[in-house]
Symmetry: C2
Subunit: 432 residues, 2 copies
């Protein structure tokens, strides 16, 4: 169960006795954690191939003795497991790797399918009870684009942006799991030339392509987390779609920031991919100029090369059997502020970080127009509509649209690490 | 246990067999709920005079049979009790009134002191697990003052303010109970003429005098709460001190709103005062012009006349035995947007409201300079320092300052209803 005995869990040569598809998201080198509805309610599991290892059952079978607290594995969320801190998560993944690899510990293999659940049959849940949800704004390109769109007469980037990982608190209670329907929100919006606002369904419903991390461990009130130590407090990453009603947001956001334009729904992917599994894809982030203040400095590279894509399939495309169209592609490595810096900043005033707190990156946009992570950028506030394979145009989302966020890591000499999906279908607004 | 049998729990003539001080906060007409540390951990209680009725013990003695779920009363927070909805809270208060009034049901009296705990001995806790914390900005006078201070060259009130109960999400994990030390936060701040920001202890530590309400009941994702029905989803009010680092806030807040300038600590008073107890103090709020949009309209008065005061005692005053000085007085009735409108607005996009969500009013400022609810207003960003009885000046808070928020309701023909205190002493910053 240690590296000494079983080797590196990231070794690309590892295979598993569980059938695996080489192009799949969940090889034996990944082993992300999630919560699924199983016998007797929510259960903690680890994804491998098209299966889930039922970790509660594995614990009850004695396979995780001395590795993870059985009470934490009996829980309906990952919080207790994450509260034990990142080293505990690292140990758990190493043990699962040893149990699942072809040449590994035969104990789990002997138990066979009793501990495995079909992933296609499992209904996934939000994996952690989220105490606080923070959304950052850490893509230089996105912040610049939004500045150009919302403040066309000023400097696109505000003076604080290169000094501060700008962020705000979102609504933790509106974070929902992959597949949750996206009810078009109602809200106040005002046309520039209108005398007064009106209330009704948003006409500018948008996506935001983001990654987010869950805190593990945490700090005490009044005790900041140092940037150099911040990654030791990160349990893993998921995809985040920060659905946005741009018309509501534009009218409400001054001076206290986004509120109802964002708080109706935030969709995450179900599997928490550990930093350990992402280690082969660690890269340097962009050069930071001016150099960040001391409390934001952490030696070593803190970026991760994660490929990203957004697909959209309209109701008409679905009816005609037309496959979802890729409307954006990007990479997480381009983010200006790292997760480590975000966490150090968020706790620099002594604010408490609890296991299960979710920190999203902000929209991930690249430097080219096909790499923008939101429709408001992709269509430049609707002035350059996208044309779908069906011939339909899109400025913002229409009812019936299916949106899916995709994320994966690939490079020669490493196993492919995937994140699964964060999906949602837009439903008509309720009565205004 | 019903009004028919025992009369109106708000009847000013009611007395209790528990000794009561006429000037106290907690007469038999109040009976607010809280959580205290008792035998075997956190316990739910109701305040009366200088005592707490241990509701878990009362339930176990059979005194609340058919009134409240024993499991909800065995919990370490009020969440399950609040999840049962406001009618359940109304029933519980009526039953407690019947048990505690002098001429009432002798069942509790017979059990005597076994169910009563000395309030002075009890360590109080945050009474509910707070899912989401929203802070509004609903005082016209405060919003106007801040506009004048932060944007001296523009219209003080932004165009959206009279249409929208402006608000934002704060950090639920930083909400702490009365008496929690206030560690001076560190953060980035930049002088207007400086080339770059620096990181260090805030030099503009401030208070914000607010009231807040806890949600009871709640809604389902996608289903807004109507303004006319919103009060049925409000479990009760507490005092809120939204401590603020004005220098950090000024540098960070654009474009996404307050973040670290607020997230280090928010202090609440321990006792949740029900809307039922506040009913005698219901008043009409200010005239709203323009009339609010339909989803924000609710017939009837939705303001509450709650007297407010802020006291400050410096370390030097404490050492010299000088009593705390009142630095501001106000009244909650002047708030432009009502709690009902705030809750209807916050859920108007379908966002889920969970029992235990906390909604704070925003700083409560009146129209006269002695009624401003923050030091930045009271001293006009430090340009008009307050002079304390010790001769000391205050622009913002100094280390060692004790601040207390006070709230109470009084009028002829009604019992005085108090809220207790929200206190904090400023401690020096940690290492920057």
């Amino acid at each position: 169960m240690t590296r000494e005995r079983w080797g590196d869990p990231n070794d690309a040569a590892l295979t598993s006795w569980v059938p695996l598809d080489a192009a799949g998201d969940f090889p034996v080198q990944n082993l992300p954690l999630g919560v699924f509805e199983g016998t007797g309610g929510a259960r903690i599991g680890a994804a491998i191939g098209d299966r889930i290892v039922d970790l509660r059952a594995a614990s009850e079978a004695g396979l995780l003795d001395g590795i993870a607290d059985p009470a934490a594995l009996r829980a309906a969320t990952l919080n207790a497991l994450f509260a034990a801190g990142r080293p505990a998560l690292t140990r758990l993944r190493a043990r699962l790797s040893a149990l699942l690899r072809s040449d590994g510990d035969p104990a789990l293999h002997a138990l066979g399918d009793a501990l495995l659940v079909d992933r296609s049959q499992a209904r996934m849940q939000v994996p952690l009870a989220i105490g606080d949800y923070v959304d950052f704004y850490s893509s230089l390109e996105h912040a610049t684009n939004l500045g150009r769109i919302f403040r066309p007469d000023g400097e696109p980037l505000l003076p604080n942006w290169r000094w501060i990982p700008i962020g705000y608190h979102g609504r933790a209670g509106s974070v929902a799991i992959d597949g949750t329907p996206v009810r078009r929100p109602c809200g106040q919006r005002k046309a520039p030339d209108a005398a007064a606002p009106t209330f009704g369904p948003s006409a500018m419903l948008d996506i935001e392509l983001e990654m987010g991390f869950f805190a593990a461990g945490g700090n005490r009130l009044g005790e900041p987390i140092a940037a150099a130590a911040a990654e030791a407090q990160i349990g893993g990453f998921v995809l985040v779609n920060d659905w946005s009603a741009r018309d509501v947001q534009a009218w409400e956001y001054q001076p206290l920031g986004p509120f109802l334009g964002k708080s109706f729904l935030t969709t995450i992917s179900p599997w928490v991919v550990s930093l350990d599994a992402l280690e082969p894809f660690r890269v340097a982030g962009p050069l930071q100029e001016p150099p960040p203040l001391g409390y934001l400095q952490a030696p070593g590279p803190h970026g991760f090369s994660i490929e990203l894509a957004v697909t959209l399939q309209s109701a008409a495309m679905r009816a005609a059997g037309v496959a979802p169209a890729t409307i954006a592609r990007g990479n997480f490595a381009g983010m200006y502020w790292s997760a480590a810096q975000q966490l150090a900043h968020a706790s620099s005033n002594g604010a408490r970080v609890r296991p299960g707190d979710l920190f999203a990156s902000g929209t991930i946009s690249g430097s080219t127009p096909d790499s923008y992570g939101s429709l408001i950028e992709l269509t430049w506030r609707g002035t350059r509509p996208l044309v779908l394979p069906s011939g339909e145009q899109r400025r913002f989302l229409e009812d019936g649209d299916d949106v899916a966020l995709h994320a994966w890591c690939e490079k020669p000499g490493a196993a492919r690490i995937g994140f699964g999906l964060a999906r949602g279908r837009v439903e008509p607004a309720g009565a205004a």
